[in-house]
């Protein structure tokens, strides 16, 4: 019997697995179990043999390791080559391939899908397996009852709709998945799995792009997708110096980042990497503190999945007060320094255990 596979792409940076890979394993495990399939993980890099056991401990049945100096840092074409060669070496394509909606996954997945001439659903927030019955008079060749299809569920049209995308006519069915949404399985050291070395054969044309420099200096304040608390500033800050205050408030929280609205980015007050919203990043921290942000739809779609939204704004009629959970109507230059003072006072007192951090919620 031919082996049915769910394949996940495990990103690594400098030999360190990125959280998204383990999240994909958690989600992939459920899909593979429903399908009766093998859950396979693929990791590419240089000197990365040690990652295989981590991937197995977090749910993989088998791990494919492509270890080669040219793969040390992610580049589109070498990675695309190795992945398509591996997939084509199997007697049957995988049922499903999952990648993260990171800058890497969103760069690689479409190239892979185009090469394999298959469908790809972007930026999913939910995945499942189920049957699908379809008939379309314009394309009768697609009609029929399909068992065991990938349900790729994603927000669409500025997050106002949830769409279920299906493409059972061709395997692999592919999706990229938003970081921070799927839940990794706990580590289980007793899990066993197989590890395979992937042969790496690159074409000189794959190496035309060269990396001059990679800088990852922004992690403390910019990695919006991983921050638990985001302090965001808008045009209401009045000047770029306002972001220093945002920085100080963010510094009160150990896992925090500074965000911004588009207008502040367009004004050149803060780099694009901080922008939250339709043309920036989508975030879902535990706490989102919006300072001087009016809450236009373009900003809202990037942050309204935050667990607790706090708005500080002079204008009581600002739209943000319609969907925030808590708000202060007042001058942020008075409110924020006071907030920093009170939080710092708090810091010196004993902390609650992390499991006790259950915020009072409204409207969720």
């Amino acid at each position: 019997m031919v082996q049915k596979r769910v394949l996940i792409f495990a990103e690594q940076v400098n030999g360190e697995l990125q959280p998204i890979g383990l999240e994909l394993l958690g989600s992939g495990r459920l899909l593979a179990d429903k399908l009766g399939a093998t859950l396979s993980a693929l990791v590419l890099g240089s000197n990365i043999a040690h990652l295989a056991s981590t991937l197995i401990g977090h749910g993989a049945d088998e791990v494919f390791v492509a270890d080669h100096p040219e793969l040390a840092q992610y580049r589109t074409l070498p990675y695309r080559r190795v992945m398509t060669d591996l997939i084509k070496s199997w007697p049957e394509p995988p049922h499903t391939i999952l990648l993260g909606s990171t800058t890497t996954g969103r760069d690689l997945a479409p190239r892979l899908a185009a090469h394999l001439e298959t469908g790809l659903t972007a930026d999913c927030t939910d995945l499942d397996i189920g049957p699908f019955e379809y008939s379309n008079s314009k394309d009768p060749s697609k009609s029929g009852l399909f068992r065991d299809c990938l349900y790729a569920i994603r927000p669409s049209f500025g997050e106002s709709l949830k769409a279920r995308i299906l493409g059972p006519w061709k395997n692999p069915q592919m999706a990229t998945v938003r970081p921070g949404v799927m839940v990794p399985l706990p580590w289980d050291g007793s899990r066993r799995g197989e590890v395979f070395q992937v042969p790496v054969q690159l074409d000189p044309s794959d190496l035309s792009l060269q990396i001059v420099e990679t800088v990852r200096n922004l992690s403390q304040t910019t990695d919006l997708t991983r921050a638990e608390v985001i302090v965001s500033g808008g045009y209401g800050l009045g000047s770029p110096e306002g972001f220093e205050l945002m920085q100080q408030l963010a510094a009160c929280f150990p896992n925090s980042a500074v965000g911004s609205s588009r207008k502040a980015v367009d004004s050149g007050w803060i780099p694009y990497a901080h922008q939250v919203g339709q043309t920036g990043k989508t975030v879902r921290p535990q706490i989102y503190i919006a300072c001087g942000i009016s809450g236009a739809i373009q900003h809202r779609v990037g942050m309204d999945k935050s667990r607790t939204i706090i708005a500080i704004n002079k204008d009581s009629s600002a739209p943000i007060f319609k969907f925030a959970h808590y708000g202060i109507v007042g001058d942020l230059y008075q409110v924020v320094p006071e907030m920093i003072r009170q939080l710092q006072q708090n810091q010196s007192q004993p902390q609650a255990h992390p499991t006790e951090r259950i915020p009072v919620l409204q409207g969720h």
Binding site: P110, A122, T214, T308, K322, I328, E356, G363
Partner: protein, 274 residues
């Protein structure tokens, strides 16, 4: 040097016009606009014109009204445009779109640079750029924040998680442009006048904007539209409106306002060491 820029007309989500009660779009009624991300791509393409004298070609695919975004691009200084429009393109997913665009690009010429917006605001997939690059067999630089061209080599800075990366790659290359400090300026007076003339004079328009279909570019209709799309939207569900019950603190002294809010929102438990 030949620079192409791919642009799309999208529904304006900040306008309620054309949004059905179930949250879906009535594209015929919806207010239309140039995809906001494409403004950055347009600015990048115009940069190659200013700095290297590139001829800039804008390409769009969509129903006939999509010609509006070509006029907009020309008003900003784009030299010529192509509108790929064909009823057989209905229900195209990203794979079919990238195939159609690849055929269109080949028909329009041999670009040294292709600029795309990072993504569109109606699809949000960020897939068409890389899929087009794969179809054309050229390298790509996605999430590009800044670039320059020296001796046929693109030097680009791209955003990555928690930082940035600088890369070099020989032309031709496809670039998807991230929002950055580079803003598209206002249309030039000369550009606006040129558009006025094109809109009045069909013969003049035809010299600048070609309206083409699948047959013109030799595209296989089986690989386009619904037939060429391996994915379909099987169901949609409106996401409920949130909020409406914001607990607002105002009027007290600032210290007591802040105290009330931080207690209500349980902020303190996030403070301090992990």
């Amino acid at each position: 040097m030949e620079s192409f820029v791919l642009i799309k007309q999208v529904p304006d989500q900040s306008s309620k016009a054309g949004i059905n009660s179930d949250g879906t779009i009535d594209r015929a009624k919806a207010k239309r606009m140039l995809n906001p991300f494409d403004r950055y791509a347009l600015e990048a393409a115009l940069q190659t014109k200013r700095q290297h004298g590139a001829r800039v070609t804008a390409i769009t695919m969509g129903p006939p009204p999509a010609i509006e975004v070509l006029y907009e691009a020309i008003a900003h200084g784009v030299d010529r445009g192509f509108l790929m429009t064909d009823r057989r393109l209905a229900a195209s997913d990203t794979l079919a779109t990238a195939y159609t665009l690849a055929q269109t690009v080949r028909y329009a010429g041999s670009p040294d640079l292709i600029f795309c917006g990072l993504q569109t605001t109606d699809g949000d997939t960020a897939q068409v750029g890389p899929q087009l690059a794969e179809r054309l067999g050229i390298p790509q630089v996605t999430y590009c924040e800044a670039f320059e061209i020296r001796d046929g080599i693109l030097l680009a800075r791209r955003a990555i998680e928690g930082g940035s990366q600088t890369v070099t790659v020989p032309l031709p290359v496809l670039v998807t442009v991230a929002n950055s400090a580079q803003r598209l300026a206002y249309p030039t007076l000369r550009g606006a006048q040129r558009v006025q003339r094109l809109m009045r004079d069909e013969a003049a328009r035809a010299e600048v904007i070609q309206i083409i279909n699948l047959d013109d570019v030799g595209a296989d209709p089986e690989r386009c539209g619904l037939k060429g799309s391996p994915t379909i939207v099987a169901a949609t569900e409106k996401v409920g409106e949130i909020g409406g019950n914001c607990q607002i603190f105002q009027g007290q002294s600032v210290p007591s306002l802040v105290k009330s809010l931080t207690e209500a929102a349980s902020i303190s438990s996030y403070v301090g060491a992990r």
